[in-house]
């Protein structure tokens, strides 16, 4: 019964997402729609980290490494083959393959906690300094110049199999939104499968999972690769939204905001980090345009405040609150019933006594 209730929640959210997809272009300005594609890419990144960290318990500080690799792989492939469909697949593949290699060393070496967080973050940072050094004409893959810190151009999406028909920004928005919704539903499904539940169990207690004869290294590697593939997909929509990919995708602050979305949205939920991405992006964007407060200042404060005061994040805290209120309501009604029964019994005994 609980299963079906959970699944109903997923469906409701997916339908809300679809409604947003259909109505947003009617209501919002053209420019906002273009920016939104980019934010959707970031939301998929947040979702991937929510999966890997919130459910897999893998503290991947450098999830942006896969996100950025996906973006670069897309831009380079699309420039070379002149179509976006193969390039999207390539982006997912490259991110997943890189995660498989890195993950092998991490999980089979039983690197965990702080070590894992720092190693993954360092990988992203090294990619940052690597890509920044690729400014010369000698750094090209096929026809695509990597372009150093200016980055490389990311071609727009086109109809599958028809490289000549480029999608309009609204269409790109539709595609990105549908990808996000599908990715979300996929993750919701995944965490309820046997595989997903074992991953959650490993998060809860590695030793117990091992004693139950699960090879935890394999499961961790599995969810790590799936998360990386999703992040790679996010990278595609991000770079298509901006029409460029620069080394900044690998930067320390990009890695930080991904973590902040998950912290704010809440570990252990999938929708929380997605919503947090949209909300915080809106917040920093409007702050940036006012130039009153520095974005780093705000993000840093948000992170510290959440770690100290709301360590569970917004969505789980709301759920907890709702649970407490429901329990109180249940307790109150039970008490009322009991009191009623007692008074009734009391009357009866009183009657008998007479």
């Amino acid at each position: 019964m609980r299963l079906s209730r959970d699944f109903r929640g997923t469906l409701v959210i997916a339908v809300c997402g679809l409604a947003f997809t259909l109505f947003a272009p009617e209501v919002l300005e053209f420019f906002t729609i273009i920016t939104l594609s980019q934010v959707i890419g970031l939301a998929i990144l947040a979702l991937s980290l929510a999966l890997v960290w919130g459910f897999g318990g893998i503290l991947c500080f450098g999830q942006t490494a896969f996100f950025g690799l996906g973006a670069y792989a897309y831009a380079v492939t699309a420039t070379n083959i002149g179509g976006s469909t193969g390039a999207i697949l390539m982006a997912i593949l490259v991110a997943a393959a890189f995660a498989a290699i890195l993950g092998y060393f991490i999980f089979y070496g039983r690197v965990s906690d702080v070590y894992l967080a720092i190693i993954t973050l360092t990988v992203a940072l090294i990619l940052y300094s690597l890509t920044r050094r690729t400014s010369g004409p000698e750094y090209k893959i096929g026809n695509a110049l990597l372009g150093g810190f200016n980055g490389t151009a990311a071609p727009p999406l086109n109809l599958p199999g028809d490289a000549g028909t480029v999608l309009f920004p609204e269409d790109t928005f539709y595609v990105a939104m549908i990808a996000l919704i599908l990715a979300y539903v996929f993750c919701c499904w995944l965490v309820r499968t046997h595989f997903g539940r074992v991953c959650i169990a490993i998060r809860e207690n590695e030793t117990r999972a091992e004693l139950l004869a699960y090879d935890i290294r394999l499961y961790k590697l599995g969810i790590f690769i799936i998360g990386a593939a999703l992040a790679g997909l996010g990278g595609v929509f991000f770079c298509v939204g901006v029409s460029r990919v620069t080394p900044d995708v690998f930067s320390l602050s990009q890695a930080a905001v991904a973590i902040i979305w998950v912290i704010v949205g809440g570990r252990g939920t999938l929708i929380g980090p997605i919503l947090a991405t949209f909300a915080l992006h809106y917040l920093t964007a409007s702050l940036g345009s006012q130039a009153l407060l520095n974005a780093n200042l705000v993000l840093g404060t948000v992170l510290i405040v959440f770690v100290l005061l709301v360590p569970k994040g917004v969505v789980p805290s709301i759920i907890d609150l709702a649970d407490i209120r429901r329990q109180r309501r249940v307790a109150r009604s039970r008490e009322r019933r009991l009191r009623l029964r007692r008074t009734r019994n009391g009357n009866e005994t009183a009657g008998v006594g007479k």
Binding site: G109, T122, A295, L297, V307, L308
Partner: protein
């Protein structure tokens, strides 16, 4: 022959540089099991201290060797009291909080001094020429300073009461607090000392790298790798990891250029952690400092 000597010196400088930027981080990690993600910003603050002080007429040597560690050390103590101590025992939250701190410091410095050095503070070029050292002469100086710094930390750990208590805390925090040692105070001093050493490193490196609010990012990847590869033992870890990674980096960079040098450094570290998940001193030299 000249080439060999010059290459050797270059590699030696690379190793010293890694040790210098990592030592403060290693002190905090070894004693408190905390990776300070605002480490790069502590380095940056050391650099700013030097630049601002010299622009106001303070002697560059006093600014680098006295003011930078002092200012950043004080900041470290304040940070520990206001932020870190609420999170003892919550390792991951501590990581996250220091990351927030990192962003906060970048934001603050950007708001106060602007996003680039050139606009608000006099050019760092002046800093490089003060003291009339050629750049290689300054590098020699940095190697010597790094060695002295390692010796100083060794002496502190080995000879002082603070060092004794600190070693005890490193081995077993619960045990020392049971023996009546205030771990809270030890942590505060440790964090302050780690920050001071970091500030010193940042100040010393400012003439070479120049300063920007975001300059921390240049250092931290290497500092993180060095400390993680080294493991818990502060000195042995930093020294062995710096030697290994700095050596690999230097040789590969000499053969192929700086880009692959950094990749080689990272790959070495990842393979190393596959073999020794707790770092070099988690497997070898376990009893060392």
């Amino acid at each position: 022959m000249d080439l060999v000597v010059s290459l050797a010196l270059q590699i030696l400088y690379g190793i010293a540089n890694l040790a210098l930027i990592s030592l403060g981080l290693a002190i905090i990690f070894g004693m408190m099991r905390v990776i300070n993600l605002a480490h790069g910003e502590f380095l940056m603050l050391g650099g700013y201290t030097v630049v601002i002080a010299t622009n106001n007429g303070v002697n560059i040597w006093i600014a680098m060797l006295v003011l930078a560690p002092l200012v950043v050390g004080v900041i470290g103590v304040v940070v520990e009291r206001l932020l870190i101590r609420w999170l003892y025992g919550r390792m991951i939250d501590t990581l996250l909080a220091t990351w927030g701190l990192s962003l906060l410091i970048i934001g603050l410095v950007t708001s106060i001094f602007g996003a680039s050095t050139a606009t608000t503070i006099s050019p760092p070029l002046g800093v490089i020429t003060i003291g009339s050292y050629t750049s290689s002469g300054y590098e020699m100086f940095l190697i010597v300073v790094t060695v002295l710094l390692l010796v100083a930390v060794y002496a502190t750990l080995k000879l002082t009461t603070l060092g004794l208590v600190a070693r005890g805390t490193m081995q077993n925090a619960e045990m020392s607090s049971a023996l009546g040692v205030s771990t809270s105070r030890i942590y505060m001093i440790t964090f302050g000392l780690g920050a001071a050493v970091t500030g010193l490193a940042g100040g010393l490196l400012a003439p070479i790298t120049g300063i920007l609010p975001t300059i921390g990012a240049v250092y931290i990847a290497k500092a993180f790798i060095t400390v993680i590869s080294g493991g818990m033992a502060i000195l042995a870890g930093t020294a062995t990891a710096s030697a290994l990674l700095g050596g690999v980096n230097g040789i590969v960079a000499f053969l192929t250029g700086p880009t692959l040098g950094e990749v080689a450094l990272l790959v070495t570290a990842i393979i190393l952690l596959r073999l020794m998940p707790r770092g070099i001193t988690g497997t070898l030299f376990r009893k060392s400092l």
